[in-house]
């Protein structure tokens, strides 16, 4: 069947096959449920089982908030895995490796140096080092794939990016456990300082990219998306080597709050989306399109990625900012105090609000939107890093 305007993307990822067997009267929901395969159900059951085991074993130590978060993980992760099938394998791998790491520790931090698998694979710092290495190699692979038009190199890049994401997530989970081994009062989720959130940023950006890679069936954007991840990994390593930033610090009183656990990740989905959009913007620029003559993804695809990445980033950033305001009301006494970090969050938000409005304004073309998205990343980077470097304020715990 040929259509009036066919999608420029070479693949047709939206499932077409069930239309061939056109069910007589399927409701939208039923159709969606019907698309679930054995793996989907198994995955959902595994999630449910994992949450149940966690609750039965540790429920006593959990308060209402913890229980609610645990319960919410099941539908959210299930929906994520159902909507994006490779995520199921990712979740399984991260769970397996993290549990292996935790099991190998046997409650003794000193074993990080003694046990082979901990020392060379699962201990948090080693896992994060693997993540860094995989990201760097993946960047090279994607670039070779792009320049040499090599499908193999592109596939290698994909596999390595997945591997890096698995190691990064494992590293964070094991680090979380290690922080508890340091002492029950020190244990906390590893998203409390600049080092940890840089790992989180690399991880989220990579996952977002991988989602769109699968969605549009093109690996050509990988060369650009992985660039921004590599830069952040390079910063992360520099920061760890020169400042010892990887050491686990106990939480200052201001950060001891439920809100941190949702405020920070929501923010970094936002930052990840904006970073990806900017890299799609770079690939969109006519100069680059000409330079790489036909090697880059089609402008329509890039425009779409740019919009979608900004949309998801904006939605999550909105939530993150609102959560931040709720937290601020509890910790600083007012929901908005024009603290430099807050103000820059507002600026980032306004910037992308403008972008989304501009897109609907007549006469604004793709190139301008691409530049705007690139400039947006600079603003975002300043909000993320520059504010901590150059401006003082209440968010001083993220300082260099």
């Amino acid at each position: 069947m040929k259509l009036a305007s066919s999608p420029p993307s070479p693949s047709a990822p939206l499932a077409v096959r069930e239309t061939e067997t056109a069910p007589p009267m399927p409701s939208a929901r039923k159709e969606w449920l019907k698309r679930r395969d054995f793996g989907d159900w198994f995955y959902a059951l595994a999630l449910l089982a994992a949450a149940s085991v966690a609750f039965l074993r540790y429920g006593e130590a959990m308060d209402g908030y913890d229980t609610a978060i645990l319960a919410l993980h099941v539908p959210i992760l299930a929906a994520l895995g159902w909507a994006w099938r490779p995520f199921r394998l990712f979740a399984a791998a991260v769970a397996a490796l993290s549990l292996a790491g935790i099991w190998l520790y046997q409650g003794d931090l000193a074993r990080a140096e003694q046990i082979f698998f901990l020392k060379y694979l699962f201990s948090s710092q080693t896992a994060i080092a693997w993540m860094s290495a995989f990201f760097f190699i993946a960047t090279g692979a994607y670039w070779i794939g792009l320049l040499a038009r090599s499908g193999f190199a592109g596939r290698t890049g994909s596999v390595l990016t997945w591997a890096a994401a698995v190691m990064g997530a494992t590293g964070l989970f094991v680090r979380w456990y290690e922080s508890w081994l340091l002492g029950p009062e020190i244990g906390h989720i590893p998203i409390s300082n600049l080092y940890e959130v840089f790992v989180l940023f690399s991880l989220f950006t990579a996952l977002l990219y991988l989602f769109y890679e699968g969605r549009y069936g093109t690996r050509k954007l990988g060369a650009f998306a992985l660039l921004v991840i590599s830069v952040s990994v390079a910063f992360l390593l520099w920061y760890a080597f020169t400042r010892g930033a990887h050491q686990i610090q106990p939480l200052v009183p201001a950060l001891q709050s439920y809100w941190m656990k949702i405020h920070v990740p929501a923010n970094f989905v936002g930052y990840g989306g904006f970073a990806l959009a900017a890299m799609a913007g770079v690939a969109y620029l006519p100069g680059l399109q000409k330079l790489f003559a036909g090697r880059l993804p089609a402008p329509e695809v890039l425009e779409d990625v740019m919009y979608k990445a900004i949309a998801i980033g904006f939605a999550f950033f909105t939530i993150a900012t609102i959560l931040g305001a709720l937290w601020a009301a509890e910790a600083w006494g007012r929901y908005w105090s024009w603290d430099p970090k807050e103000t820059f969050a507002l600026i980032v938000w306004l910037n992308y609000a403008v972008w989304l409005h501009l897109r609907l304004t007549r006469g604004v073309r793709g190139t301008m939107l691409a530049w705007w998205a690139i400039a947006g990343l600079l603003v975002t980077t300043f909000a993320f890093l520059g504010v901590n470097l150059f401006l003082s304020g209440l968010h001083s715990y993220g300082s260099l």
């Binding site: 140096e113 106990p250 919009y307 609102i322 009301a329 024009w338 103000t343």
Partner: protein, 683 residues
């Protein structure tokens, strides 16, 4: 004329509610916020004068750059944003509601063929069954539809995702709500009280009782945000608000008393928890209750929220031993003082005022810089905590200023307990002449555990009246009685001169002396000078020893045998004597005891706009997700005798739309029994 005015008004509304105007406003708001974030807000005027200079400081002040978020122009931008968004909502609502409800079932065939996405094929089903098949498919795919039987065929007009439009209303109404709520909770109510309510900010540098009623605000003030300083055992029923370089007192509907302020620490010495045990007494009912508040765990009572914001000294009582650094034979005097107090020292013979500025009983410091032994080795493996071996609690520390008669002050930072440095113990005191300098530390060596020795030596060493006796003692110990009288006289003279020189300018005076006097007419090598220098040091160390011994005699202690074991103490004593010349104070304050009293700093806030802002935030999140993720789609199926025409429109141009269209085309074709649809190029 009236027509022109109406046209102008219409044009104005058109402009204000336009997308371009909204984009400009958002951009302006962003730029204004950048200014507010880069220029530190609400600093004292002096800070700006230093930063921007004489010329620009008043210009920027006039522009409101120091209080951007309260300035008129910033509020004007916000007002325009509210206006523009409101107009936009009103402007859009009628067509949008019509659009949401309508199905456009009268769309003409020709216009459907002009859609960017359309396809046609020949249905295989008999005409009677077609309509049912199409509506069944659409219903199954989650569309709402309306059927219009007309001359050119049957048009099934369907739509889905109209909720996306509701998202638009939610998100934009949310902006209005948040701005209005924020405005109510911001500086505006306070500014109105000052401008219209006759309230006048006053100086913060006066006792509370003397603050006039014109600077006191009623408990029912709409919104405020201020600080409470409460020492342990004390209470407060007002919050201090900063306004226009002065303060206002905000009365609270209750009294807050502090029983205790607590800090818990991690093993590394980092603070883990700040908590205040409070007793709240209601002003109206007189009832009281106890509550502990912490960072992240505030208390809300009678519309006011109390937060843990900081802590300070609440007037600890410190007990000192005041030791003279000028020649005198007095023993240390006791002296009591409260942190925050100003004590004239004239009664003790000093023309100085002592200002006790701070006290901390626990003082954890990183005493050794991290070693760079293995810069990479530490990275891999399990995470480690920051090594806590270098963190040590150095014990109580207090700061004070000594202000002389001319008003000049030096600031001091004294440790109560002796600090151990490379295995030896010292009393440590930091001194600086201004806030911008780092402290210079005077390290007073301990003789065993006694601090008295050094002070006793110093009394003798710097007392000109005792120089002659000291020099004699030194000479007698150094030379045998058999030595020539002239040699003894010369040594005594040298020792006396050295003492005088040292008392005037320390080791520098000695080295200046070597430079200037000894070698003016002779060419001397560096080696010679070092020899002479070493000889002076030897003389000084000998004098230190003799001063020490005569101090011991005066105190009724036995003399010591000379031995190498005393060498480090002698060396440290001499260095400390030299440093003490530049200490800049006639006395040394040694902390001998304290009664710690802390104060908590709380913030009291009243923000009645909060429900508005929170509702707005909730709507905003909902609206943004609805706008971005609910896709509105319209599908038209025109069933003709020999043809089915499918067309789709969407409010968003994304690749998904094309895919969805392909999906529905295939679905409809299957429902109508057709294997494939006929091709048609888009115009």
């Amino acid at each position: 004329m009236q027509g022109a005015a109406a046209r102008f008004l219409a044009a104005l509304i058109e402009l204000l509610s336009s997308m371009r105007f909204a984009v400009s406003l958002l951009t302006m708001l962003a730029i204004a916020s950048v200014i507010g974030a880069v220029v530190q807000q609400n600093e004292p005027a002096n800070a700006y004068l230093n930063q921007f200079g004489q010329f620009w400081e008043p210009v920027f002040a006039r522009m409101g750059l120091y209080t951007v978020y309260g300035s008129n122009w910033f509020l004007a931008i916000l007002a325009f944003l509210v206006l523009s968004t409101t107009l936009c909502i009103i402007h859009q609502s009628v067509p949008m509601l019509r659009e949401m409800r309508g199905f456009r079932e009268h769309a003409r065939e020709a216009s459907l063929r002009l859609f960017a996405r359309h396809a046609n094929f020949a249905p295989a089903l008999p005409p009677a069954a077609r309509r049912g098949a199409v509506t069944a498919y659409l219903a199954g795919a989650g569309f709402r539809f309306r059927v219009n039987e007309r001359e050119d065929g049957v048009l099934v007009a369907a739509r889905q995702g109209a909720a996306g439009r509701i998202g638009y209303f939610l998100a934009h109404a949310a902006i209005v709500l948040i701005c209005v709520g924020g405005l109510l909770d911001g500086n505006l109510p306070l500014a109105l009280q000052i401008r219209l309510g006759g309230k006048v900010p006053t100086s913060g540098d006066q006792p509370v009782a003397r603050i006039p009623a014109s600077a006191r605000l009623d408990p029912d003030t709409w919104s405020y945000h201020g600080n409470l300083y409460i020492p342990e055992g004390g209470s407060a029923d007002f919050a201090v608000l900063g306004a226009n370089d002065g303060i206002l007192l905000q009365s609270l509907p209750f009294k807050v008393a502090l029983k205790r302020f607590r800090i818990d620490y991690y093993a590394s010495g980092m603070p883990r928890r700040y908590a205040s045990d409070l007793v709240i007494t209601d002003n109206d009912s007189g009832e009281s209750f106890e509550r502990t508040i912490e960072v992240n765990k505030p208390l809300e009572y009678r519309g006011v929220t109390l937060f843990q914001s900081g802590f300070d000294d609440g007037g600890s009582i410190l007990r000192f031993a005041l030791r003279d650094l000028v020649p005198s034979r007095r023993p240390p005097h006791p002296l009591d003082g409260e942190v925050g107090a100003r004590l004239p020292l004239a009664g003790m013979g000093y023309d100085y005022t002592l200002e006790i500025t701070g006290f901390r009983p626990i003082n954890v410091e990183n005493v050794a810089p991290p070693s760079d032994d293995e810069p990479f080795g530490g990275f891999f493996g399990g995470a480690r905590p920051q090594t806590s071996e270098n963190l040590r609690n150095l014990g109580p520390v207090f700061t004070f200023k000594l202000r002389d008669a001319a008003g000049q002050a030096r600031e001091f930072n004294n440790y109560m307990l002796p600090l151990e440095i490379e295995g030896r113990k010292y009393l440590v005191s930091g001194v600086r002449a201004s806030q911008s300098e780092a402290f210079h530390y005077l390290r007073i060596p301990l003789d065993g555990d006694a601090a008295d020795t050094w002070f006793a030596i110093r009394q003798i060493f710097f007392d000109p009246e005792r120089h002659a006796a000291l020099a004699r003692r030194f000479t007698e110990r150094s030379l045998d009685a058999a030595d020539e009288i002239t040699l003894r006289d010369r040594l005594r003279e040298t020792a006396e001169n050295t003492l005088a020189l040292f008392a005037r300018g320390g080791l520098e005076a000695i080295s200046d002396f070597i430079e200037k006097t000894e070698f003016t007419d002779r060419s001397a090598t560096e080696e010679d000078r070092q020899h002479v220098g070493a000889a002076f040091i030897q003389i000084l160390q000998g004098l230190v020893w003799d001063a020490w011994m005569s101090a011991r005699e005066a105190a009724g202690q036995t003399a010591l045998e000379t031995s190498d074991g005393h060498a480090p103490f002698i060396r440290d004593t001499l260095l400390a004597l030299a440093d003490s010349i530049r200490y800049g104070a006639p006395l040394y304050l040694q902390l001998t005891g304290y009664k710690h009293r802390q104060a908590t700093i709380l913030q009291a806030a009243r923000a009645p706009g909060k429900p508005l802002v929170y509702t707005g935030s909730f709507l905003l999140a909902l609206g943004v997700f609805a706008m971005l993720y609910i896709r509105e789609r319209r599908l038209f199926v025109l069933l003709k005798d020999d043809e089915a025409l499918v067309a789709m429109s969407s409010n968003r141009k994304t690749i998904d739309t094309d895919e969805t269209f392909a999906h529905h085309c295939a679905g409809l074709a299957a429902a109508l029994g057709t294997a494939s649809a006929g091709p048609e190029e888009s115009p």
